[in-house]
């Protein structure tokens, strides 16, 4: 948060520098199943953010001492590629990405039925290809679609969005300028149906009333994003309804007649 409230980011009509209203999301696009090698994957664009997520697992957990005999561990790794930001970022993890990885891992661990797969790990790799504020939320949105695409048992999909304060007004889904010169940033991830909050951070300055307003905006936007997540998966698994194609779950030996 730059906290520089002199910078005019919202005009008299309540329109932001990118033409949005204060409670409007940036254009968003989600695609599921975009990579071949991964067990599940997703691509998310929100505004100028471009994020890929890939899931591997459940797979044998290495190193062995990290195995949990009662459940799978969920390891998310968030990374920004070197040319995703205006000044080239040295490849490899920094303290910021380690922190974000930890928070996303914890959020995902809550929704995944980890007890189904003792001693394994479920690995989620999030790569930010182009960054423009809100990449941790975009990464989380992509990660949960990728987990569902991988067929991982989970309670629900997890949408996420950042709300913030700019020119003393609460606004939804900060862009880069608003993030740089705004007064507060509040990323939220939640399960819309139950209202369970799985990620929340805040920096800057918000009054109780502003927070309440921000939360209300965030919850509403999470519902919208959730619909886009589901739509992406439905398109990927385009099913012809009312199809009654024959199949059998007979044990394989019935067809392996020589065995």
């Amino acid at each position: 948060m730059g906290g520089n409230s002199d910078m005019k980011l919202i005009d008299e009509n309540g329109i932001r520098i990118d033409g949005r209203k204060i409670d409007e999301l940036r254009p968003m696009k989600i695609e599921a199943g975009v990579l071949k090698s991964a067990d599940g994957s997703a691509y998310v664009e929100i505004g100028k953010n471009k994020v890929l997520a890939a899931v591997y697992g459940p797979r044998e957990c290495h190193p062995r001492h990290m195995q949990n005999p009662a459940k799978a561990i969920v390891q998310c790794k968030y990374n920004m590629i070197s040319f995703s930001v205006s000044d080239r970022k040295r490849p490899g993890p920094d303290r910021r990405s380690v922190e974000i990885s930890k928070l996303i891992s914890e959020a995902m661990e809550y929704v995944v039925f980890t007890e189904n797969y003792p001693r394994t790990s479920i690995d989620v790799y999030i790569e930010v290809l182009q960054a423009n504020a809100g990449t941790r939320c975009a990464g989380l949105v992509a990660a949960s679609v990728a987990l569902a695409d991988a067929g991982i048992p989970m309670k629900d999909l997890v949408p996420a969005v950042a709300v913030g304060k700019v020119n003393d007004q609460v606004v939804l889904d900060l862009n880069k300028e608003e993030d740089n010169y705004g007064q507060a940033d509040l990323p939220i991830a939640m399960i819309p149906r139950t209202g369970e909050v799985l990620l929340m951070q805040m920096d800057g300055h918000l009054t109780q009333a502003e927070f309440d307003k921000a939360l209300e905006m965030g919850v509403k936007a999470c519902h919208e994003i959730y619909d886009l997540q589901k739509d992406a998966l439905r398109r990927r698994y385009a099913i012809v309804n009312a199809e009654a194609e024959e199949e059998t779950k007979e044990p394989a030996e019935d067809v392996n007649e020589e065995a």
Partner: protein, 257 residues
């Protein structure tokens, strides 16, 4: 571990097919998988590309900034090429510092670009001995199904060709296209048993004994080569690999435009 062990049945099957002049996916030995090239895919980079060869996919970005030249080349811009085998791309890639595979890959791609003098580095000198353009070509493998040498090289060349020198943002006049002189193309031939094939898939690479990457320029002249793996190539195979690289290079160069 389980994945690195090739089942004998798969190995034998690939061998039998090759002895018959065939491949698992039905291609001819000198047939490249479908290639797609997109450029300007990342706004935050001066140049970028996303390239697919079959199911192998890479994203490449070129970042440029003003810095000091090397003492021995005071009137030339600086080129640095780096390839990252990120764990997103394959169950066999791990996080961590670059391993010998990714360093070899970076260096082979770099050599093709550097030795062909594709980038006119002298034109990227701003003030001899003091200020030049520093070029970082960063390659990320997103999806791995074999033939990284050619995919990364193609991605890097396409990204460089699409780059715009950010002169304005650095107070150095108007922006201008990256000064380039030619389009180097690498074609890798893989040896399995006694046969050669190009553009290998991951399954083919797993049973390969030797490989030769040959980078040619627009005239079909050789600009860089790299022999890899622990097998030996015959002189005849070396000649075939070169001839194949020159021949296929012409078609691939057209795709880059």
């Amino acid at each position: 571990m389980a994945r690195s062990i090739v089942s004998e049945i798969k190995r034998d099957h690939i061998h039998k097919l090759i002895a018959d002049g065939k491949r698992v996916d039905g291609r001819a030995w000198d047939q490249v998988r479908e290639i797609s090239i997109q450029t300007n895919v990342v706004e935050t980079a001066e140049g970028s590309s996303r390239v697919k060869i079959g199911n192998t996919e890479v994203i490449v970005g070129v970042k440029m900034s003003v810095g000091e030249p090397f003492a021995d080349t005071p009137n030339k811009g600086v080129l640095s090429t780096n390839a990252e085998l990120i764990p997103m791309a394959s169950p066999s890639f791990e996080s961590g510092p670059p391993d010998p595979e990714s360093i070899e890959l970076s260096r082979v791609v770099d050599r093709g670009i550097r030795e062909s003098q594709m980038i006119d580095l002298e034109k990227l000198c701003i003030e001899p001995g003091k200020k030049v353009w520093i070029n970082f070509v960063d390659i990320y493998v997103l999806d791995f199904d074999g033939n990284l040498f050619d995919a990364c090289s193609l991605g890097a060349v396409a990204a460089i060709k699409s780059a715009i020198v950010p002169a304005k943002a650095n107070g150095l006049g108007e922006d201008y296209p990256m000064p380039t002189t030619c389009t180097p193309v690498s074609v890798t031939s893989l040896q399995i048993e006694n046969s050669l094939l190009v553009d290998p898939t991951l399954d083919e690479e797993k049973v390969a004994t030797a490989r030769l990457t040959v980078t040619t320029d627009d005239n079909g002249d050789l600009r860089a080569m790299q022999k890899g793996l622990s097998g030996a190539l015959t002189l005849e195979q070396v000649k075939t690999a070169i001839e194949t690289s020159r021949r296929l290079g012409i078609e691939i160069r057209k795709l880059i435009g």
